[in-house]
Amino acid sequence: MSATTTEPATAEPPRLDAFLRFVVRARQANMFLVLVLALFVGLVFGGIMIIVTQPTLLTSWSHFFSHPGGTIASSFNTVWFAYEELFQGAVVNFHSLRLLIDDPSKVTLATALIPLSGTLTYATPLIVAGLGLAIGFRSSLFNIGGQGQVILGGVLALLVGFSFHLTPVLQVPLEMIAAIGGGALLAGFAGVLKAYTGAHEVIVTMMSNYTMIAVLGYLLIQPLFARPGVLDGASKAVGVSGQLPYFFSHLNAALLLNVGFIIALVAVFAVQWFFTRSKTGFELLMVGQNPDAARVAGIYSKRSIIICLALAGGLLGLAGMLELTGVDHFVTPNFGGSYGFDAITVALLGRNKPWGVFFAAIFFGAMFTGGEAMQAFTPTNIQFSLADVIQAVVVFCVATPALLVEVFHLRGGSRLMNSTYAGGWV
């Protein structure tokens, strides 16, 4: 392949030669390229989905041979418009941006950036939850109990949140401790069961989800938690001193980005350090990759299993706390939603690397907030699920680089394919 591209280059002018060499080198498979291509494939696939789900467009395709130009143009326009809304809803609003440039007195930069703030706010708990899952995967442990740990973390943070009225500097850390401790205990218990009885962590953690959903339902009808006079199952709210402060709400009340994002960033650095530098992190990696060799090296794998799951659970508990104190400030029976499971995909998309998880979560946030905008603002009412479709295709492509390597004829792809995402189901 490379031979055919470089061969004619010798006869061409040097600039083209350089360009061809660049193309050849750019086809060298690496993770960045895979991500770009995955996004490309996702958008193309999403575009096809838009076309086949719009009745008007489909009718125009039936006249394709009489008006090919019109058909393609109208299809392209619809897709383009949808993606424009998706982007504006997720990152920045072009309209306000233009107003801002024309007449800065009418609109502030803050207004233009509301979508980005929404994306990052949505991503915040997901970053931390994804980190928790990544810790488990790197050690070959599959923690399915994210949802339960998020709920327990949220509930304990709520308890601290409405019981005390200290200063935020004291109360927020207290909530964090309660949430991390709760998640760590719940997941750590699964670790104890696995280490001492061999009970598989997938089963135990998955069951703990249902337990926690039931516990949440029970708590919400108890006088201690339930909000007086409300029948929809909402809990009391966290006091102002227990809420994560917003950064920019003084500029615009819709800017909901809060201190939680900084906590998530700190968590990314901490997990990064944990895996590269810390002794325990390295031990977990050893046990995950080869438990037999770890044992010969004197590492007590029972302890490692428990520590690993407890750390993962602690991060998921923290995610629950960030969701509670940063966004809603109270709990409903649906609290936690699909964070526990989305986090699995986020960890996968981020290839279990801390910064990978960070950007994967932001991508998820963008697809969520952008998807809502797309559904609301496109005239033909393109469904929110389209964002899910794009997201799914991207995840699928990143999870199977072999596919992209094959389709785009990337060079040196075997290295990518061999890299592991999660160890076996030990």
């Binding site: 810390s278 002794k279 031990e283 990696l285 050893m286 010969v296 090296a297």
Partner: protein, 506 residues
Amino acid sequence: MKLELRGITKRFGSLTANNNVNLVVNPGEIHCLLGENGAGKSTLMNILYGLITPDEGQILIDDEVVTIVDPKDAVNHGIGMVHQHFMLIPVFSIADNVILGSEPLKPWPVIDYKAATSRLIELANEYDFEIDDPQATVEDLPIGAQQRVEILKALSHEASVLILDEPTAVLTPQETDAFMVILRSLKASGKSIIFITHKLREVLAIADVITVMRLGEVVGVTTPKETDERGLAAMMVGRDVNFVVEKLPASIGDVVLKVENLYVEDSRGLTSVKDVSFEVRAGEILAVAGVQGNGQTELVEALTGMRHPSSGHVTLNGVDLAGESVRRFLNAGVGHVPEDRQRYGLIPSLSISDNLVLDQLDDPRFRRRFGRDLKAIKANGIQKRESFDIRSQSEESPVGALSGGNQQKVVMARELSRELKVLICSQPTRGLDVGSIEFMHRQIVDIRDSGVAVIIVSSELDEVVALGDRIAVLYDGEIQDIVPPTASREDLGLLMAGAGKAKVNA
């Protein structure tokens, strides 16, 4: 059938794994392919079997060029391969494994198990294989029998050329003898055999023609009549090889490790080490000889804390460590080079540098405030890679990409970098090439001379005799006798077969 490989060249990036290799295998010939790890033997055989496509060259069968791009093509052309790591399904019976992929069917699409069994028995009779029970589950069979199943599987596909990739690496001496008989009977029935191995003694015993490879090229074609072990080794390595381990008489010190009345149970709860007692002194090598499976594994596990003995004492410098954790054993100064280095000694996905500190995470040399000192770990990797001549792209290469010899060097380098009182090496040179064996033996003798007590567990009689200052022979979990290395091979053989001290002396 005559097989010929002509001008085979295969490059992987900048590495040339095979360079213009020619090989001719005549019908009814046992053709040994000899070479160090990484000499290109496996690449060549994988090309022949269709697992790798060559960059240049041709494969000829009966002087006609054939295309083999898939193992299926190879099988259709009558080429069968028995891999070093068996490709059997452990929970299936022998018969099921043999018919796998070419199941005989009844007139309707249901497997005809009766036909399968009778075909298996027919095949076994044809080649004089002992198959007691075609319905026996493969995982219950000893390794030697599993290998016979692999060979039967290849034969059932009507292979006329059999590629055997290091078939004897996993066999006990007795199984190896039985294997040689099988090879001769295959040859007698007109099959050609390509036999890949490191073991010079076997090559000289069985080969008709020997092709020696080095660094991807054929460096010589010879026959057992024209050469000897020394000549073959020199061809393989490219220089003269020292077969006799040079060592001065041991300067023996105090007792370091004392094992008393040790009983150990294996994973099935059977007592596999029975009433074992011995002492090892500083500066001596105690070699534990015995056929694989006579309690060596459990003994080593008990001496390194991996397995808790059911009774008895393991005393190191006066402290009884029996039943303590692996960590305690390591901290007390026990070095351990495990039997299966890939499974127990290394983490293949991690770098050489990381693997060099696996059991030294607490060592202050590799710690910095709260975390690991990555700089020191890298520096250690660079230094050890240099001093142990670990051949790799860099100290950051994953250990899984290294050859067996280089992997063993990593394990050895790691264990020797701790403060040792006792070094326990289990099968230290299994599967290694001549050059690496020489290197390992040198290291072991050096560490002995520095005053460490050394225990070698090996099923290679040559190694036991060459290294041991005293030889303990293990049979059925008991020490038959502890003899000096001057004992005759016959006596050692009798002890290994459980004849006992009395008979040997009589």
